[in-house]
């Protein structure tokens, strides 16, 4: 049990570094640390499927993010929001945590899930779908419609990214219609 706390602590430390470092490249690498720690945590929490997906997705994310940062102007940005904005946002975030802790009091304890519907998947999943990996049975048979949506999300985002990255958006010599109104 202590391992979970330890790994979660590493994740929190990694995110603090990622958020507060001035150099963007170090910040991106710290996010990588958080992601890989998350995948170890997934493995220990009994989710090897997710661990492997998280590792490969994290590699891809790191490659893309480093690509975005490495050849561009990498100077740190000094500008902060005003102190008042920071303090008030911290206040609201703290309030959020307090409410959350009240809500968590009524949820079941860690390590004892309710398993109201999912016990059926574990009991009958192999017999009903023929897949011995119950997670696959859930994502591609019981809830395959979700997976259709998920594949579509990826398709949409890649299509959207290619649309955004095209060089010329408008015809008519590419001049934009200024949004005026001052």
């Amino acid at each position: 049990m202590i391992t979970f706390y330890l790994l979660l602590g590493i994740m929190i430390l990694g995110s603090i570094v990622a958020i507060e470092t001035r150099n963007i490249l170090s910040s991106v690498i710290s996010v990588g640390i958080v992601g890989f720690t998350l995948s170890i945590l997934f493995l220990l929490l009994g989710a090897p499927d997710l661990a492997i997906t998280q590792v490969v997705v994290e590699i891809l994310v790191l490659v893309i993010l480093i690509r975005a940062t490495i050849s561009v102007d990498n100077t740190a940005i000094e500008a902060y929001r005003g102190t008042f904005a920071i303090v008030s946002s911290l206040f609201f975030l703290g309030l959020f945590l307090v409410f959350a802790s009240y809500a968590f009091l009524e949820m079941h304890a860690f390590g004892k899930p309710l398993m109201r519907t999912s016990q059926h998947y574990l009991d009958k999943g192999l017999a009903e779908t023929g897949a011995s990996n119950i997670v696959t049975a859930v994502i591609l048979d019981y809830r395959a419609y979700d997976t259709l949506g998920e594949a579509t999300v990826l398709f949409v985002s890649v299509l959207g990214a290619t649309v955004i990255l095209r060089r010329i958006g408008r015809k008519r010599g590419g001049k934009s219609i200024e949004s005026t109104g001052k």
């Binding site: 492997i52 561009v72 594949a151």
Partner: protein, 152 residues
């Protein structure tokens, strides 16, 4: 074009294994750890490694972006077609094939086919995106000219 000799040599040694691993993860998704998404992303990472090590031209010789564009739409359409084929059994997304014998590769009805379709979609879509994002020559000074053809 590409990286140093050491990187190229190691990539040559590893790339087959990476592709095999990706295909294995995809095909055995219903039996052990993995599935279409993880396998697809592993295959994509293989292509990305190829591209980083050998440069754009070698990789695009293996998979052109127009092919990637075609394949990603095909993958998505195949998955949708699997969903619609469920109407043979009487409902959308019904697992219309026989579950088969447990723990065998050919089992679990349409699940392996859906995995393959997803894998194709992921590989081709992210590959095309990566070509566009990294080697289009607009954000870096290094290589290549960007044409309308290269878009997905």
């Amino acid at each position: 074009m590409g990286m140093s000799l050491i990187v190229k040599k190691i990539t040559q040694l590893l790339i087959g294994l990476i592709f095999l691993f990706g295909i294995n993860i995809t095909l055995f998704g219903h039996l052990s750890v993995g599935g279409g998404f993880a396998g697809g992303v592993i295959l994509t990472c293989g292509f990305i490694l190829l591209m980083l090590a050998f440069g754009k031209d070698t990789t695009l010789g293996k998979m052109r972006t127009s092919v990637a564009r075609f394949l990603s739409c095909t993958g998505a359409l195949v998955f949708l077609a699997i969903a619609l084929l469920g109407y043979i059994g009487g409902a959308f997304f019904l697992n219309f094939l026989d579950p088969g014998q447990a723990f065998h590769l050919h089992s679990a009805g349409f699940i392996p086919f859906a995995d393959i379709a997803i894998s194709i979609l992921i590989v081709s879509a992210i590959f095309a995106l990566f070509v566009l994002l990294v080697l289009s020559g607009r954000f870096t000074e290094d290589s290549g000219k960007y044409t309308e053809d290269d878009e997905l």
